[in-house]
């Protein structure tokens, strides 16, 4: 098995042993049950997209922080840093494992309302991308907080700017016009919206935003990780 796949395996084992998989599935099951009960309500698509924004986003953003603070509290990171670990593998396996978990949860949510009656590709791409972006956002915020409580406090402005404004725009509470395209999650929301309701969206923008933002976000997260966590 390649070094990357081995680390990938260990990341899943850690997620499972730290009950992150179980917690995610339980929360998703509760959300899914609520959605199933109210699946015939008129606004259910909007509620579904909103929940997909909340549930996998939280899995990515908070659980990556939780994983790192657990490693920091147990003094594991210094032990990892003296090994020949490939830091790209180390970060990417964490990001992908959490994003796959978030995507599975978001698929469970859509199944509970739509069964198989949704656009699988755009929905999965949108929810996976939103998980990756949230995880990267968590990694970028991580070096600026010394513990999980401070991280959670820092998350309020970060969530408002990066997630909640796009969410309010989607729900019709705000009307930002073309400015909405400047917010990082907009492309993912559009893809999820198309996946759920079949609504016409600007695919070129949605795909381009993901193609640009994920590498850019990863570059920022990696640089901060090396500068603020590895060298200090």
């Amino acid at each position: 098995m390649s070094a990357f796949l081995q680390q990938f395996k260990w990341q899943f084992i850690l997620l499972q042993k730290n009950n992150i998989v179980s917690i995610s599935f339980i929360v998703t099951f509760i959300y899914g049950a609520i959605l199933f009960i109210f699946k015939d309500v008129e606004m259910i698509d909007k509620v579904l997209v909103t929940l997909v924004l909340i549930d996998p986003t939280i899995i990515g953003y908070f659980f990556i922080a939780l994983a790192f603070y657990t490693e920091k509290r147990s003094q594991i990171l210094p032990a990892v840093f003296v090994t020949p670990v490939n830091f790209h593998h180390f970060l990417i396996t964490k990001i992908i494992s959490l994003s796959l978990l978030g995507t599975l949860c978001s698929l469970a949510l859509v199944f509970s309302v739509k069964g198989l009656n949704f656009h699988f590709f755009t929905y999965t791409l949108g929810s996976f991308s939103i998980c990756v972006l949230s995880t990267l956002l968590g990694l970028i915020v991580l070096p600026f907080a010394t513990d999980f409580l401070k991280f959670a406090l820092l998350s309020f402005p970060v969530f408002i700017v990066c997630i909640n404004i796009s969410q309010l725009q989607y729900l019709g509470v705000l009307d930002l016009g073309q400015i909405k395209y400047l917010f990082p999650m907009q492309g993912c929301i559009d893809l999820i919206d198309h996946g759920v309701s079949g609504k016409n969206i600007n695919f070129l923008y949605a795909i381009s935003s993901i193609v640009v933002l994920i590498p850019l976000g990863y570059y920022g997260a990696f640089q901060l990780f090396m500068k603020k966590i590895y060298r200090e």
Binding site: I13, L14, S74, Q75, I76, A79, T83
Partner: protein, 283 residues
Amino acid sequence: MIQVEDLSFKYPNNNTAALNKLNFKIESGEIFGFLGPSGAGKSTTQKILYKILNDYQGLVSIDGKNLKEIDHTYKERIGVCFELPNHYLKLTGKENLDLFAAFYKTNKERNLELLFEKVDLLEAMNKPVETYSKGMKMRLNYIRSIQHNPDILFFDEPTSGLDPVNAQKVKDHILELKAEGKTIFITTHDMHTADALCDMVSFIINGELVTTDTPKRLKSQYGKEMVNVELKNGEIKDFPLKELGINAAFLQFINQKEINRINTLEASLQEVFIKITGQSLQL
């Protein structure tokens, strides 16, 4: 072999040098002790030798090659045993070792059972580390650092948190590693451990090396070359070690009453440290 020449380092936004022109050399098959109080620069030196801090001045060479020019694979060759336990608590001891082994390319021939047996952890091998005592976690630290058979080993307080029996076992293992030709760098506050293990010791204070020598020479240099004799009647006298066997006063003294004890007046490494640096290690 590790050679350090004029090694200096300053942390960003700090005007004081954390390390100031350090010079030392560790031969293969040698145990080198790095002794100093907290904040003296031991951790910074270690981070440089682990290749975590790269923006230092001076030269660090490993087997004659500049460390700055050696790539990331250098870390395949080093093993680090930390002062405090640092493991994934929800994983078993074996899983912890397997997880770390996955970071190495050259780590295929491990005999995990033998490693766990070596430190009396065989029965706990498949138990979660959260159920281990501190001493067990420290022993797991130790075997994790050697599981990939590194050439260069760094031990930070290797006997900390261990009971005397296990501390002695770890010391014996370290001496076995030395006999295998490993280059070993130990940082410790424990002068008995340093004295028992190290071929050479350096004292570091405020980022500067105060002295580097063998423990034997330091103890002899800073102690008195005399014996102290106490008789059963409480009478005590000191005699020079030189020509002790033909010293008439000594012979007469020990023959007059039963002897309670005889000690050499060689300084302990702790006393030498205090004499040289004017500081205690328990800072």
